[in-house]
Symmetry: C2
Subunit: 181 residues, 2 copies
Amino acid sequence: MRVLGVDPGLTRCGVGVVEGVPGRPLTMLGVGVVRTPVDAELGLRLVAIERGIEQWLDEHRPEFVAVERVFSQHNVRTVMGTAQASAVAMLCAARRGIPVALHTPSEVKAAVTGTGRADKAQVGTMVTRLLRLDAPPKPADAADALALAICHIWRAPAQNRLQQAVALHTAKATASKGRTA
Amino acid sequence: MRVLGVDPGLTRCGVGVVEGVPGRPLTMLGVGVVRTPVDAELGLRLVAIERGIEQWLDEHRPEFVAVERVFSQHNVRTVMGTAQASAVAMLCAARRGIPVALHTPSEVKAAVTGTGRADKAQVGTMVTRLLRLDAPPKPADAADALALAICHIWRAPAQNRLQQAVALHTAKATASKGRTA
């Protein structure tokens, strides 16, 4: 199973591709960050994120895309940008019929460290260990994207297969139902 | 000046096209709602909104797109959906090099009714009057989209021309600056 993890953000959007199945060693296929200039207009930043995500989808052909679920308990301005960046990532995946899964930060931390309250350093350490890397991926957004992908792979495989089938089936149904009046 | 106003939402995304210049009677060229099924997956809903917005851009070729600026003082879940729908609208416009302007609900209400605290009915009444329609557009999202377009037309035309030039110029610059590392 090949998963692209996306840690959404307007300035830095972490991306990481992991391949594997539960109970076997995992393999990192790529990791990086899609960046957009802080001083650019919002619409143009979203276009830059779209291009970046499309490049990662083209290159790695993931079967699933896992995106961090956005909450609004944090800084209002940051959350809006994060929600907008995540929308672009979800749009890019869904357009290709790739199922999108959302995982909360706590779920991701619990998956890779055993506790939902782990800090950035702990997540980085475990991602390094689980993917047998020489050093923790930098910046933290990149490590978080890999953790998202790992979290997704370790969910019940049957559930993933079901979601994949449903996504492919409903892509067409939604297209015909969503109409312009 | 031809403006597409977008009142973003996941379930109902209001769209309205108005043509005109400040100080002259305005003309409505089209109004409607892009709907997506509530029970569909989020990624697929965003794809449906993208298709809907693209259709409106194809049909009406607006020079500007005006989108309601999203705030998070309201219901958290609604705001996330609104932010995500607005991201898709901004993305569609920016991809074509069409400048995107954001206006707050208060700015829009003040532009068409004279007060930033006007209610939905008052906005509907003034939109009907200003566009010389037989009845207020329904649903309210459609009327709000027209109000957004009117608000944008009534901003300083010089500022709009400047923004248009900057958007076209920076579209390429942003594409080359936003890189995947």
